[in-house]
């Protein structure tokens, strides 16, 4: 152990250096906290699609890290025209206005069509089937009232640090919104 004893002094010098650096690092962390504490937010944020900017490119269905995208079509019924020929439900130039697969636009038959009263039909989304491809949204926005639109569903979204759909969104429509108001729903202008 003689060697160890002879090393006593440099070890101490090294320890001193180490202690100094440690104090400096701690101070740095403290400074960081000081600098950022004022600006940090206690309430979180979540990702959401701004329907006004959405271009219905269809990438929400494919780019989400979840296998079945957290983006789903939602329906604001107050805007819906309850059309018999719903351009969000039917393919262009449908064979007949019925629920036959050959007439449906939705790849997964996630839209349910229900007769309400003549000549109105109610359309609702089955979110378990919806893959967020936005085909119906395109149809509804292009030719109809635009009552169908895409939203990130927060019961599914993992709230990734960097949303992989936002990264490729051609409309730059996906941004973080306060978690207390996590949806950007379409509403009618005051009636």
């Amino acid at each position: 152990m003689a060697a160890g004893l002879s090393q006593e002094e440099p070890v101490n010098r090294r320890q001193f250096l180490r202690g100094g650096l440690r104090v400096a690092a701690m101070t740095g962390v403290g400074a960081l906290v000081g600098a950022l504490a004022g600006r940090s937010a206690t309430d979180g944020t979540v990702w959401q699609i701004d329907p006004a900017r959405c271009l219905r490119c269809g990438q929400c269905a494919t780019e989400c890290v979840l296998e079945q995208s957290a983006v789903k079509c939602v329906h604001t019924h107050a805007i819906c025209g309850y059309c018999e020929l719903c351009t969000g439900y039917f393919v262009p130039d449908p064979n007949a206005l019925n629920t036959g697969a050959e007439n449906q636009l939705c790849p997964t038959a996630a839209i349910r069509r229900k007769y309400v009263e003549d000549p109105y039909y109610e359309y609702t989304i089955d979110e378990n089937l919806c893959i967020g491809c936005g085909k119906c949204v395109e149809g509804c926005n292009r030719f109809g009232n635009g009552s169908l639109y895409l939203q990130i569903r927060h019961d599914r979204c993992l709230n990734c640090n960097e949303c992989s759909i936002a990264r490729v969104c051609p409309g730059d429509a996906i941004h973080r919104v306060p978690a207390r108001h996590p949806y950007l729903l379409k509403t009618t202008v005051s009636h």
Binding site: N161, R180, L185
Partner: protein, 455 residues
């Protein structure tokens, strides 16, 4: 009509949460129903409750404290494995890798450079607490709290020894990655570290095929190379390594004195064990060492300057990772392919958006480019600094008397303890040889860890 107004009020109340998105032009007026039909209300499932985030912080703090206790006091590999399993299940498979200290560095960097970015408190805590712990007790976070580390540690099957020189060289990479991650985050263009995280897709069992494959490759590699991501990639581990270098306490293999049996060196799958070396006795060798050190010290500013110069040239290519810059470049390209009629690709849609408001896009792109003009030479300088400091570090001769883990490289996995004959004696697993101090004395010294001083 009254009924309808009522429905509408209910609707409005629900939608109050949302910022009023202007109603689209209503080509087809909403009908007035006569059959008493009630408008369905749009469902809005709530995001994960806020308090659960604070619960995550609590779990982190408890797990870190427990890790310190298990590594330094209990010196229990079984405990560390158990905690690793818990962390893998909680932070990994349950929280699906997203609240994560590794990625949080980027958020902190972004918050430092972008005043408008509100950094969630929990993210700040997740970023800083493991660093503070590393300054006190070393890499307890890597040992048993980080799900990435836990996964790699648990899948380790038959470790292959990576040559020390290669380990040193590859050990530079995490710092370069850290620099790049901070640069891209600080410019607000990308969270590189999150994007290319190989394990989070595994925890989620979904993700891009590329990253799933990369993750699988890392797992398979991790069966034969101890913690490949932690050692050669992880940018947060790089930070913790720096912290551990100056930590107050450290992992010591032997509870009292080292018998130089080399068993601990054999036990470490991460190449972290250092053998004892005497200080150079030969004055000639010493002076050669000193001369080299002098030259390398002189080289450091040169390397930094060269890196900064070279990095400065990268501002344009690097800025292309910013979506605005990438789109603006495509938009301004005179030879861009005209969009095919009737085929709406995401790219043509993006270009259409650019065409609608080129000023806004170009302004954003130019601002990002400006940021990169500053960030890229800083990044280059950082690369030069890392290389220079590493070279200097490799030229410093450290004298050791005992086998001990390298302060920075040791993850604190607690594997080596049970290999140490003195530890086994302390635990009563094998009898003390006659020429050793009495077990009682050993126990007394062992109780005083950390750190146990050689008698």
């Amino acid at each position: 009509m009254k009924r309808r107004a009522h429905t509408f009020l209910v609707g409005l109340w629900t939608w109050l949460a949302a910022a009023g998105v202007a109603g689209a032009e209503q080509r087809f007026p909403p009908p007035d129903f006569e059959s008493g039909y009630q408008l369905p209300v749009t469902q809005t499932p709530a995001p994960r409750a806020e308090w659960l985030q604070y619960f995550d912080v609590l779990v982190l703090l408890i797990a870190l404290g427990l890790a310190c206790h298990l590594i330094l006091r209990k010196r229990s590999r079984a405990g560390v494995v158990g905690l690793s399993l818990f962390s893998l299940l909680y932070f990994g498979f349950y929280r699906e890798g997203c609240i994560c200290a590794i990625g949080s560095v980027q958020n902190v960097a972004l918050a430092l450079f972008d005043r408008s970015y509100a950094l969630p408190v929990t993210v700040l805590v997740f970023c800083l607490v493991p660093i503070v712990f590393s300054l006190v007790v070393g890499r307890a976070f890597c040992a048993a709290v980080c799900p990435h580390g836990a996964l790699q540690d648990l899948v380790l099957l038959k470790p292959v020894k990576v040559p020390a020189w290669l380990e040193h060289a590859l050990g530079v990479l995490p710092y370069l990655y850290l620099g790049a991650g901070v640069m891209f985050a600080a410019t607000g263009s990308a969270f590189l570290i999150c994007r290319y995280d190989p394990f989070v897709p595994l925890f989620r069992l979904s993700g891009s095929v590329l990253m799933l494959t990369t993750g699988a490759a890392f797992v398979v590699l991790g069966m034969f190379v101890g913690r490949p991501y932690c050692r050669f990639v992880c940018p947060y581990g790089a930070l913790l390594r720096l912290g551990a270098l100056v930590a107050r306490w450290r992992v010591r293999v032997t509870p009292d004195f080292c018998t130089q049996c080399q068993l601990c060196e054999h036990s470490c799958p991460f190449g972290a064990m250092r053998e004892p070396t005497a200080p150079a006795a030969n004055p000639a060798a010493q002076s050669a060492d000193r001369r080299r050190l002098g030259w390398l010290l002189l080289l450091l500013p040169v390397l930094i300057a060269a890196g900064a110069w070279l990095g400065g040239k990268l501002s344009v290519p690097l800025s292309r990772l910013d979506p605005n810059v990438a789109l603006a470049e495509k938009f301004l390209d005179p030879r861009k392919a005209a969009p095919l009629p009737g085929v709406q690709t995401p790219q043509s849609l993006a270009l259409g958006r650019a065409e609608d408001n080129p000023k806004e896009l170009l302004a954003a792109a130019a601002a990002a480019r400006q940021k990169f003009a500053a960030a890229s030479w800083l990044f280059g300088g950082w690369v030069g600094l890392v290389i220079g400091v590493k070279l200097i570090g490799l030229s410093l001769r450290v004298a050791r008397t005992d086998f001990e883990p390298d302060r920075g490289a040791c993850f604190g996995c607690a594997r080596c303890f049970s290999f140490c004959p003195n530890e086994r004696v302390r635990l009563g697993l094998q009898p003390a040889p006659a020429n050793l101090p009495a077990p009682a004395a050993v126990a007394a010294t062992a109780a005083s860890v950390p750190p146990a001083k050689p008698a």
